[in-house]
């Protein structure tokens, strides 16, 4: 009898624990939902010009080890890079437990000289570890747009990134500070180790193929999806825009990002 009393007590403690956890969860969810519901339903827009290309010239893009920017496995070429916050994040995991979905990005280039390579960086909610789209091997995805505008002057405001596994980069697309002494927004992208962080986030033109593919196009406006196939929470999403020529004065890129729920 004593044994079963203890069993009941133990099961009771577990039930009370779950009940309290649900209470905390529900209270927080309601408070959080009130704050974010309005923002989630709106598309997020961003625009950059040639002065937002702050990094380069360089042949590689950030990862735990430098990886290529252009199509192929080996870093090559002189690329100028900007990082744009998309303001919307994809949600992965079990669709029965969360509102899962991808991010649709509509883009429009003006006066693009050479090739633009679009890559994606997602930051883990909380500790900021990063994912990026795989550049080589099975599961590679990427998006390349080529333009025909004449190249501009060599930019004087760019500096190459320093290779490592942690990068503090300026976020383009946000309003520039009026006072030049005020620093721009920055974000920290870091990778734990080589081979991790390459298989969570992808670029695709076909939502039925969430692992993505490599797309090369000459369309200066179009759209693609950013998908997430992991189970963790993505806290922030950045689009890396890299161009392999100095851009003319009229260069611009307008982006509109929208969360697209995966229909069950």
């Amino acid at each position: 009898m004593e044994f079963w009393r203890r069993v009941l007590l133990a099961v009771g403690v577990l039930v009370v624990f779950v009940a309290v956890a649900f209470l905390v969860d529900t209270t927080l969810s309601q408070a959080y939902a009130r704050e974010s519901a309005f923002a989630d339903s709106l598309p997020h827009t961003a625009a950059i010009d040639r002065y937002d290309l702050r990094y380069g010239p360089q042949s590689w893009r950030p990862y735990a080890t430098p990886i290529a920017i252009g199509p192929g496995d080996l870093p090559s070429g002189d690329w100028y890079i900007a990082f744009v916050e998309l303001g919307v994040v994809p949600v992965g995991g079990n669709p029965a437990l969360a509102r899962t979905g991808s991010v649709r990005v509509d883009y429009r280039f003006t006066d693009l000289a050479g090739t633009a390579s679009l890559g994606v960086y997602g930051l883990h909610a909380g500790d900021g570890r990063a994912w990026t789209n795989r550049q080589s091997g099975y599961g590679t995805s990427g998006y390349y747009v080529s333009g025909t505008a004449a190249p501009g002057d060599l930019p004087r405001w760019t500096t190459p990134l320093e290779a490592g596994n942690r990068y503090v980069v300026e976020v383009a697309g946000s309003p520039r500070p009026v006072d030049e002494d005020v620093a721009r927004d920055t974000c920290t992208i870091w990778f734990e180790r080589i081979s991790s962080g390459l298989d969570g986030i992808h670029i695709t033109t076909d939502r039925a193929a969430p692992k993505g593919q490599v797309t090369e196009t000459a369309d200066l406006d179009g759209s693609f999806y950013i998908t997430y196939t992991g189970g963790n929470r993505v806290g922030a999403l950045f689009l890396m825009v890299a161009v392999d020529r100095p851009q003319p004065e009229g260069f611009g890129l307008a982006l509109e990002s929208t969360f697209v729920e995966i229909s069950r």
Partner: protein, 185 residues
């Protein structure tokens, strides 16, 4: 001079170390692809409960948990690295406490369920606590804690029931004796 006998015999230390290593191996080798929090607990609690049931001494689960935590910390299989030792050890301590509270009747599936569920959910709590200590915003952690705690209890409980069935079979087969634990190294 009389040599003071050690708390665990050599046999028990070897056994618990192997079970601790097995937790780490299962954690590394088996990925449950259902993306439900706590689902891997179904495997984690198995070696700890079976090891505790065989040794039947206070501290057995803690020792096996500590071994798995040290392995997980040094191999860096999870983002918390050295802090992983806390959650694995906490799981072991909890299984120890539950086993002691129920007089080591770990062959009983109900006790197995309670031990597995409690171990897995305490591991979750310690994991969240470490994240909080490291500066992760509380809202990111607490959003979803309701479902997460329920799934941790369910999967840990299932692992505990499986462990109890294994322990029961070992007792019945005479491989392990409930009242005659090998004690001499």
């Amino acid at each position: 001079m009389m040599k003071r006998p050690s708390y665990f015999s050599l046999y028990e230390i070897a056994l618990l170390s192997l079970f601790g290593a097995l937790v780490f191996v299962l954690r590394t080798a088996i990925i449950v692809p259902i993306h439900v929090p706590g689902s891997s607990g179904i495997f984690w609690v198995l070696p700890l409960i079976v090891g505790t049931a065989i040794v039947r001494k206070p501290g057995a689960g803690t020792y096996a948990g500590l071994v798995s935590g040290i392995l997980a910390s040094f191999f860096g299989i999870e983002p918390l690295h050295v802090f992983d030792v806390f959650k694995y050890t906490a799981m072991g301590i909890t299984i120890d406490l539950v086993s002691m509270a129920f007089g080591y009747r770990l062959e009983n599936p109900v006790v197995g369920f309670v031990a597995g569920a409690a171990g897995n959910v305490v591991k979750m709590v310690v994991n969240y606590a470490v994240h909080l200590l490291l500066g992760v915003q509380g809202v990111f952690i607490l959003l979803g804690i309701g479902l997460s705690s329920a799934t941790h209890i369910v999967f840990g409980g299932i692992g505990g029931i499986i462990a109890a069935l294994i322990v029961g079979r070992l007792y019945r087969a005479g491989i392990v004796h409930q009242d005659d634990v090998p004690d001499d190294g």
